[in-house]
């Protein structure tokens, strides 16, 4: 299993020079009376692998869902690649963005879900080619060739013609990873991608992700409870609590010598 070296070659704006790719600026998200994100500021540099850790309900998944524009922030702004994600400039003032603008910015972002969310009505190959053909305008042959390479990379080169329900959870998740990568996003969001898997299937999925992390330039934003995996692939770990980042740093630092008492408590509970 080796990653496709061309994976990020022809991206529109391959900024892998460590410049800022994602910026959250005073982002507030409430669900009912519950403030999940409280004036959150943080940024992710291009090409970095960032893991979000913290107790459940601390807003980690909400960050990924905001970036994927599955939900909208109540206050504050998010920038991706220098462009506002959910706002646009009109006559010098910042207004909520139209669907067209959101679609353009969102094209830089891919997401893998906890529950895989493959399309059960499509075979594996078409799950992967559907969006490149209809959204990026690739020819069917080109999209299929790319899909086969990606399936090869995730170790499922022989399952093109299977339906998702004929695959194990781990295989489905690897297809979902291939599907997200087929859009050649600059950012890959990983939302607890192994939480729904049987324990013996977790390693296969994590191996694929490790491979991608080590051999491509893709920026990864990862919510996980797999601390060993986080330690392995992350450049930076952000510890969340109550809608804020309470501590951040390289994994060696956070995992072995956390500065914050909450982080210590959390890690001793999960490690």
């Amino acid at each position: 299993m080796s990653a496709d070296p061309n994976l990020t070659k022809d991206q529109p704006n391959p900024k892998v020079d460590g410049s800022e790719l994602i910026r959250f600026d005073k982002v507030v998200k409430r669900f009912g009376g519950n403030t999940v994100l409280d004036e959150l500021d943080f940024s992710v540099a291009s090409g970095k692998h960032v893991t979000l850790i913290g107790p459940s309900g601390s807003g980690k998944t909400t960050i990924l869902r905001l970036l994927m524009t599955l939900i909208k922030p109540d206050e504050g702004t998010i920038k991706v690649n220098g462009d506002y994600l959910t706002h646009e400039q009109k006559n010098g003032s910042l207004v909520p963005a139209g669907e067209k603008h959101i679609r353009e910015v969102r094209k830089n972002i891919g997401m893998v879900f906890q529950q895989f969310n493959l399309f059960p009505n499509m075979k594996v190959l078409r799950n992967i080619t559907e969006a490149p053909v209809t959204v990026l305008g690739l020819s069917k042959d080109e999209a299929e060739e790319r899909a086969r390479e990606l399936l090869e990379m995730v170790g499922l080169g022989d399952r093109c013609d299977a339906y998702p329900t004929q695959l194990s959870g781990g295989q489905q998740q690897r297809v979902a990873i291939a599907r997200a990568l087929a859009m050649r996003p600059q950012v890959l969001l990983l939302d607890e991608v192994t939480s729904a898997l049987d324990p013996e299937l977790v390693a296969g999925v994590l191996d694929v992700l490790r491979d991608i992390a080590h051999t491509t330039d893709i920026t990864m934003l990862c919510v996980t409870h797999e601390m060993n995996f986080a330690r392995d692939i992350s450049d930076q770990v952000l510890m969340f609590d109550a809608g804020r980042v309470i501590e951040s740093g390289p994994p060696e630092k956070i995992f072995s010598d956390p500065a914050h008492e909450r982080t210590r408590e959390f890690l001793s509970a999960v490690l």
Partner: protein, 222 residues
Amino acid sequence: MITTASSSWDWSAVADFMPHFWDGVVETLKILVLGSLISFSVGLVWALAFRAPTRFVRWPVGVVTEFIRNTPLLVQLFFLYFVLPEWGIQFSALTTGIVAIGLHYSTYTAQVYRAGIEAVPTGQWEAARALSLPYRRTWTAVILPQAIRRVIPALGNYVIAMLKDTPLLAGIGVLELLQRSRLEAAQTFQYTEALTVVGIAFIVIAYPSSLLLRALERRLVR
């Protein structure tokens, strides 16, 4: 002493009825097939309109479909056949009947589609959005194929229900099975034979259909 004319079964009456019986079968199946097609397609339009972004669509569609669903089909048939011509809109009894039964059943199939669409997990919408699939494409390639697959058995049940409602079209003079048998019997006074044959014909069509549906259901619902 009173003796009934048709106290014994007369096979020759059955034989005499056969040519008209087959005409009636053809007419009934025509109503069933075209009525189903109308109910399947119009019902889908209703179901999509239920989810329209603006209440100026949702609300009127809700009122219209509830109205159609909660008034008797026979009343609707009479209205379309006897009242509309007064406004200069006139169709043959058969056309009127097919449209009425199709429209009536579309309000049922709309509810079936609605349930099927709602049963598609939110994750499917989210995955489509994460891949930037356009809204229309999300519907046609992701949501509807899954929703429709789920509702085929339920739609089939309505086809069988519709079959059993086709005799209502006799009320406006459509020459379907029941009307054929009534005309036959009116000439010969042998009601038993004609009506029995028609009753059996409905069973012969409906029962295998429902068996077929059950088989289909086992295949589709996985």
